[in-house]
Subunit: 387 residues, 2 copies
């Protein structure tokens, strides 16, 4: 079993919990009396505390981004491709912090937690969370860990949006914002797909208005549909064709009404396993946070104006076949940064993997990320006071 | 109320029913002891019976393609934009036949019909239907109407696939095949979207294994989801943006979990009205017919070989922003026709309306269709024996 612990793996990691006992006021106007965040760290914080890197997760992500939680784990963390000794997010250089966001279902306070004021599971009563709330709580985690400023805040998809919000909201505590496959805000099409996924959950009779845990049940069918839809839209037409073509499950077409094509049975598998591990209320909360994200909104729909407060450097990557967060959307961010006079490097990666590419070992992507983060690490080290 | 009956409208039309009392053997190997087809006609069959045009409908279509069934109807038939005196499908020149396909839910024999052998509603026991079965039954309807050969078989999307199958299966009875926004077969992505829509229906507890009618219920939520998904994918990202942008329903974002954005409430409306008028088993049947359509399959995946039997002329149109049946897919058809040495005219229409464009009055599309069908009518008239 130990052969999985290769020299470029962070090894066995243990999640940690940070409890915040004072009340937190949220953007929606409601308050959480207390909350906790679960997180993992990889690498070591240096003496000057200048090498901390925050990993922000996407819709269905969590804190376990690299390594293994035990030798029995079959799979490493979700971004193990990019995090480890010598990898793009090089744990020999960075102190990596990866958390489960507030509202999540992997150990941080969220809809599956007990509301201390009622003694009852929050469920649908958990307040709406925005990307801005995540930045606020991530900053509180930085305080707790003694991190004055992030060398880098990095994320793909919704994670990239958090990096952007960091640059806008707390400009003096972030040196580099790395946004991968992100967008300045969702399109109507994106919102529509999210809404269909939500409706799948809401219309599942096992949802019970969000009180499924208390009823001892789970809206499995709704979650399955939501995940299947996400899965298809996070991949490209070409990618699905290369993976499955029109292969049938066995032999010839049977013209029945059962699952026939490989792509169907693959989707069923993906949907099923997701529905067993993810909380439906968290899914609703996360997709709403995505829909609402729109930093330009408060600046007369002028993204450059919104980004003008930023003081960090930016790196933006997009993928040619990503049609949910298309390259054109990343260009909107880059163009706004240029107008705002910010320092930005951007790269468009030609690959067939659609939106999911940010999770995959696409060579040019890995190389570009490695180069930029090496530059960022060098830069922050050169700023360190001498010995 | 009469102002809707403009001079380019076919006016008030009455559906007719053709009953076929002998057994029909289907591609799946099963047999229907008897069946009926409901259809409408517009225009007049000429003396030489050479001006008949068959309209084939798409996934959720039916026989009522033009005009009104009564003066009280709020909306005309689904393709009224293209069918009428002086319109592209000019009823002054063509005798137009538009049917509800076998397996449909608008009056033709389908899952909602009574199985004469059991006296029970077919429901999920209705046999699998293929595009080839539709061509066979459409030919039987032509026989019943005394039409020796179609001047034109025309359709958009799944309707275009029927036109293609006509050209291959019964080459001596079709002069022109007009395929709009069609594809030689579905991609893995297309199959995946169909499968998600099917799962939405199948996992609705009101589906009752397809016996919802006997239970006095309807899988409304599943049908709604299926339609919402179809609706989003039949439009382009640009089209949705132009129509809705990120407009919220009322005032500012409320950060609640209710419907917020205009696009969401529009989708709910579309889904709701579809779920009240369409049969779930028919939806399953139609999407399976779409998935299975693959004329090249029997010819070693060589579409040109499949099309080599055709004797008709072809017209193919596609739309730049159609991403479910992209222009590249139409080009595959055109390329195969060229290889097969067939006469083909094709046009790609630049417009923002996605797949649904084939139903809309896009000027260049309407013009191109008008020109081709005028040419087809002229050609068939010139073949008529002199008075």
């Amino acid at each position: 079993m130990r052969e999985k612990l290769t020299s470029d793996c962070v090894g066995i990691v243990e999640p940690q919990v940070q409890v915040f006992d004072s009340a937190l006021e949220l953007v929606c106007g409601r308050e959480l009396p207390r909350f906790q965040l679960v997180y993992e760290t990889y690498g070591e914080l240096n003496a000057t505390r200048s090498n901390a890197l925050l990993v922000c997760h996407a819709l269905s992500g969590h804190h376990h981004a690299a390594g293994y939680n035990s030798l029995e784990d079959r799979k490493p963390g979700w971004w193990d491709v990019c995090i480890g000794p010598g990898k793009p997010i090089d744990t020999n250089r960075f102190f990596v912090v990866s958390l489960n966001n507030l509202g999540g279902c992997h150990g941080s306070t969220g809809p599956t937690s007990i509301d201390p004021e009622t003694g009852r599971i929050y469920g649908p009563d958990f307040p709406s969370i925005t990307v801005r709330d995540w930045v606020t709580t991530q900053a509180m985690l930085a305080d707790a860990l003694g991190i004055p400023s992030w060398a880098v805040v990095i994320g793909g998809s919704l994670g990239g949006m958090q990096a952007m919000q960091w640059a806008i909201d707390i400009p003096h505590r972030i040196k580099h914002a790395v946004m991968i496959a992100a967008a300045p805000r969702l399109s109507a099409q994106n919102i529509a797909f999210n809404e269909i996924a939500r409706q799948a959950i809401l219309s599942d009779p096992e949802f019970h208005g969000g009180r499924y845990l208390e009823k001892g049940t789970n809206p499995t069918a709704g979650l399955m549909l939501a995940r299947m839809l996400g899965h298809v839209t996070y991949q490209s037409d070409d990618g699905l064709r290369d993976k499955f073509g029109r292969e049938v499950k066995s032999g010839d077409l049977s013209l029945g009404l059962d699952v026939e094509f490989q792509v169907e049975s693959y989707l069923h598998y993906q949907g099923r396993s997701f529905s067993e591990s993810f909380d439906a209320n968290t899914y609703l909360l996360m997709t709403h946070a995505l829909d609402y994200f729109d930093p330009a909104r408060e600046h007369g729909d002028d993204l450059a104006a919104a980004l003008s407060r930023a003081q960090c450097r930016f790196f933006a990557a997009s993928f040619t076949t990503d049609w949910r967060f298309a390259s054109a959307r990343t260009r909107e961010i880059v163009d706004a940064l240029v107008v705002a006079g910010k320092d930005v490097v951007s790269v468009e990666i030609d690959c067939p993997h659609g939106h999911d590419a940010f999770l995959l070992p696409v060579p040019r992507y890995v190389d570009a990320l490695t180069t930029y983060l090496r530059y960022a690490a060098d830069l922050e080290e050169s700023h360190e006071p001498a010995g």
